[in-house]
Subunit: 194 residues, 2 copies
Amino acid sequence: MVMKMGLNFPTIKKERQKIVNNANRGMDLEEMINQSNEYYLNNDIAVIYKKPTPIQIVKVHYPSRNKAVITEAYYKTPSTTDYNGIYKGKYIDFDAKENHNRTSWPLANISEHQVKHLKRVQDHGGIAFLLVAFSYYNEYYFLPFDVLNAYWKDSQEQGRKSIPYAVFQKQAYLIKEGFLPRLDYLKIIDEFYL
Amino acid sequence: MVMKMGLNFPTIKKERQKIVNNANRGMDLEEMINQSNEYYLNNDIAVIYKKPTPIQIVKVHYPSRNKAVITEAYYKTPSTTDYNGIYKGKYIDFDAKENHNRTSWPLANISEHQVKHLKRVQDHGGIAFLLVAFSYYNEYYFLPFDVLNAYWKDSQEQGRKSIPYAVFQKQAYLIKEGFLPRLDYLKIIDEFYL
């Protein structure tokens, strides 16, 4: 019986996800944000880019004068967030977080470095937030830094492990999915920040 | 005689550079900017980072479960500038350019992509500029985007190849070198932008 559950549950879950995810054709959060940023750029709405992944380069080989091949390198932990840029004169800074849980978003998915960075950004007058995908529900939330920070403090002081889904529903902003842009997260800034 | 000139000239030049460069102990522009940004960050003055170098990853090897070794990768051309961040609520965006010429800075050192990016930044209310090192003179200039853009247009329309050193002396801002921060380029923003 337990085994049967174990065998069946993923299948059911997969089917449900397939239906739910039909709208974005399996596109992941990063792709959706990149496409939205491209739309913002091409339509002169905002200038927001994803930063390159930081790589520690150890060995570079030069087979010819103008060609460099990196033959040994390692991923480094980013010290900031993945996205930043400018919108209506405001400095924008955020990170994107995928989440497959149904009931909460685990705080283990963000590093202390990133929280500190976002706090600095907000203290200096920028707009700091997270974009969190609840992929089970096919929902995308704009989580303001202040809400993140309250729960982050709780995690440091009280050992809290996650932010409940119900908190996203009440204190974060649901971003409507569209065609162009795919994920119009700047609309949230228009409505609640500017 | 020609040979003698050829032999002597680099020696003289090298000695002069050695004296001139004594103040920064051979530190390159990027190092100076990174140290300054660290100072700004640690003293809660500004949040400005260098973006990681964009790398195209082709092959990744996993010798163990938690370790990833990149075994084939290539340098990509950056589509934006190297530095951005926030200062006194303003979005800041710039690139750093080393220059060993004495009489001008060659416009071949900047790509059309970068000029377009800086223009967009300025159009959206950000502060866009270049930091150009004239290492022969041990001088560091803050070149406002508008000056760059005027000469860039000339290069596209009239075939201009460089911005004369005299233009830097008159239309760019000389940044005083210090100890902490090494290169206080935000002072120029205080004086001429805010």
